[in-house]
């Protein structure tokens, strides 16, 4: 951990006891986010992206709980804090943006009141100053005629404008970190581009770190500095975004990139998308060894019995026996 590290997630494990056994949706996940750095967390549905995000901000739904590992924010371990302490971390130090803006907004309170109350809760400022700040926040996220919109309610905004308001709300407490879980998945492509550009610009200007959760490789490429690829609750590959996407070392990452239509594989009559056979396993039926091995085109005998450790290979780091073999 360097002095620029904002967030450090170390060996994070989340478990959910159920009648049919203990599920482990997040398993020994480790990564860091630096100040002002945008880190993507990508993977197909069920990979454990959202639960990782919830675990970091202490919003796991019971009976899910962090069973081991730690989350450290600016040198302070926040994974052991009680609910009251966590509430202060959320909003003030970590802002959140979710796929559905309505989960973050109170339908019965005006936008201006929500913004200024949040500002007052987290910053020692007067009501007047908070109102000023709320107006500036709306202007910053590009709400047209912001002054006249302060008294409007969430339902009076379009989907894209609502998500802008949520970003304003996430940023108004001047947090060091934003966790955004599929923030543009419900938006049309033109609005998605607007919202992503906005998020990127504001976080760069304020040196805010971002954990951007998405299933979209294109969004990862255009928005993030580094990327964590999750598969079945584990980190499959981690590294600089451009390096991971252009020279992926883990067969799963390579498969994902090849399955995403892109100029290299989609033009021409002979073009063919790369197929990964099968689909992500359920948590009750996780394969032994490397969880990806039944779908892997480069499976070796060791993959069926042993979980590979994260090992550097070339420019990225992968949890794959191809790397452990190479470094042996």
């Amino acid at each position: 951990m360097t002095e620029h590290t904002l967030l450090e997630v170390k060996d994070l494990k989340v478990q959910i006891p159920t009648r049919r056994g203990v599920l482990t949706p997040v398993n020994e996940v480790s990564f860091t986010i630096g100040r002002g750095e945008i880190v993507g967390v990508v993977g197909e549905s069920g990979a454990g992206k959202s639960i990782t995000g919830s675990a970091i901000i202490g919003l796991l739904d019971r009976p899910a709980r962090i069973s081991s590992g730690s989350v450290t924010l600016q040198g302070e371990v926040i994974s052991g804090l009680n609910e009251e302490q966590l509430r202060r971390v959320r909003g003030k130090r970590i802002g959140t943006v979710f796929q559905d803006p309505l989960t973050s907004l109170d339908p019965l309170m005006s936008i201006g009141d929500q913004l200024s109350e949040t500002a007052m809760a987290h910053l020692a400022i007067s009501r007047e100053a908070a109102r000023e700040k709320a107006l500036q926040a709306l202007i910053d996220v590009g709400i047209p005629a912001a002054e006249s919109r302060l008294d409007a309610y969430p339902h009076e905004f379009s989907g894209g404008m609502r998500q802008r308001v949520v970003i304003a709300l996430a940023l108004i407490g001047e947090p060091d970190l934003i966790i955004a879980d599929e923030p543009t998945t419900a938006l049309d492509v033109s609005v998605q581009a607007q919202v992503l550009m906005l998020l990127k610009r504001l976080c760069r200007e304020r040196n805010t770190g971002v954990m951007l959760i998405t299933h979209d490789m294109g969004v990862i490429a255009e928005t993030t500095d580094r990327v964590v690829v999750l598969y079945a609750g584990r980190v499959a590959e981690i590294g600089n975004t451009e390096q991971v996407l252009t020279s992926a070392k883990h067969p799963y990452t390579r498969g994902l990139v090849g399955a995403t239509p892109n100029p290299a594989n989609m033009d021409g009559d002979n073009a063919r998308l790369n197929q990964i056979p099968g689909s992500m396993p359920g948590l009750l039926a996780l394969p032994t060894g490397c969880p990806f091995h039944p779908r892997c085109s480069e499976v070796m005998p060791v993959c069926k019995t042993e979980q590979p450790a994260l090992t550097p290979l070339g420019d990225t780091t992968i949890a794959c026996h191809l790397a452990t073999e190479a470094s042996a």
């Binding site: 894209g160 581009a193 294109g218 975004t241 996407l245 399955a259 995403t260």
Partner: protein, 327 residues
């Protein structure tokens, strides 16, 4: 030589979206209508894929439903292999119907959960083909294998399958009546990319092997680029540009097409900062006058507020924009 299987002419659909009668009378409001599809024209050549792309509410699903007969057009015509579906005898419509099938976005909602896969796939066989007994069973097994499932899967129920496998069941059912034309409404939008790739590849293989014609509807330009021969772009119910795939992506003519292509995230777009287009899709009940796109258009002229652009044809491209060759 142009060999079109599907021809759509001035197809329109208007929905009545008025408040209930009493509320309307009490609050003194007029009837309200919504033009979901507005004079759309296109043809699809036999054995090819025509993709309709557009953001939500642009009228894609409404067009799909009119083509398969789930919804009546308000006006306009749909010809399938020369038969005018909007104005044909009941017998002609019945014999044409079995040549058209549909694949839906949601493989969960579109399969009856209480039916075994065998019965789901067999339903169109019973409805349209004169096949029974061992031959029917053989045909169902063959269909399941064709879409990458096994004949044993016929005995199972939909909930025993993953999303991608359920979409394969949907495809097997669509193929069961030996159709020539399949309308696919966002068939992979609910699937993960690795599974989407399986389904898209399967659909291309089936097209090649069976000579199928597709209307492929999606909001995802990357998928369009992989699947389409010809592409039509919809905005608020109007077809604003259509062109062969390569032409459309290499040199989009309409400012809206340009904006869409620019806004789509690209796996090779590292650190790209794009000038995102302004605004959002307006209320379809009272769309902007003139060209519907004018309030968001970076290249708009004064006339765009007033004049509805007439479609201009150059080669195989059609564009409705005042910037393109109108006096």
């Amino acid at each position: 030589m142009n060999d079109s299987l599907i021809s759509v002419q001035s197809l329109s659909r208007v929905f009545d979206v008025s408040k209930p009668w009493l509320n309307r009378v009490l609050s003194g409001q007029k009837r309200q209508t919504l033009k979901a599809v507005d004079s759309v024209d296109f043809t699809i050549e036999r054995g090819t894929t025509y993709a309709l792309v557009g953001e939500s509410g642009s009228g894609k699903s409404t067009i799909a439903k009119m083509l398969v007969g789930l919804l009546k057009p308000t006006s306009g015509r749909v010809h399938i292999d020369g038969v005018d579906l909007t104005n044909a005898s009941a017998a002609d419509i019945a014999s044409t119907r079995k040549r058209i099938q549909m694949i839906f976005q949601d493989p969960y909602a579109s399969l009856n959960p209480r039916w075994r896969v065998r019965d789901i796939v067999g339903e169109p066989i019973d409805a349209f083909l004169n096949v029974s007994g061992a031959e029917r069973t053989r045909k169902i097994d063959e269909l399941l294998e064709k879409v990458g499932l096994s004949s044993k899967d016929g005995a199972k129920f939909p909930h025993e399958f993953s999303g991608g496998q359920r979409q394969r069941i949907g495809i097997a059912r669509a193929l069961a009546s030996d159709p020539e034309f399949i309308v696919c409404d966002e068939p992979t939008s609910a699937l993960d990319v690795s599974v989407q790739a399986q389904v898209l590849n399967l659909m291309r293989d089936l097209q090649r092997d069976l000579g199928l014609t597709y209307l492929f509807i999606t909001h995802d330009l990357a998928v369009v680029r992989y699947m389409a021969d010809h592409v039509g772009v919809l905005y608020l119910g109007r077809l604003i540009e259509s062109a062969p795939r390569q032409e459309l992506f290499d040199s989009p003519a309409h400012p809206y097409t340009q904006m869409l292509i620019n806004a789509a995230p690209r796996v090779d777009g590292f650190g790209r900062m794009h000038e995102a287009a302004d605004g959002e899709i307006p209320d379809p009940i009272s769309p902007p006058s003139g060209c519907h796109f004018h309030p968001r258009c970076p290249q708009r002229l004064d006339a765009c507020r007033i004049e509805v652009p007439v479609v201009q044809h150059t080669g195989r491209r059609a564009v409705s924009c005042l910037l393109h060759g109108q006096s």
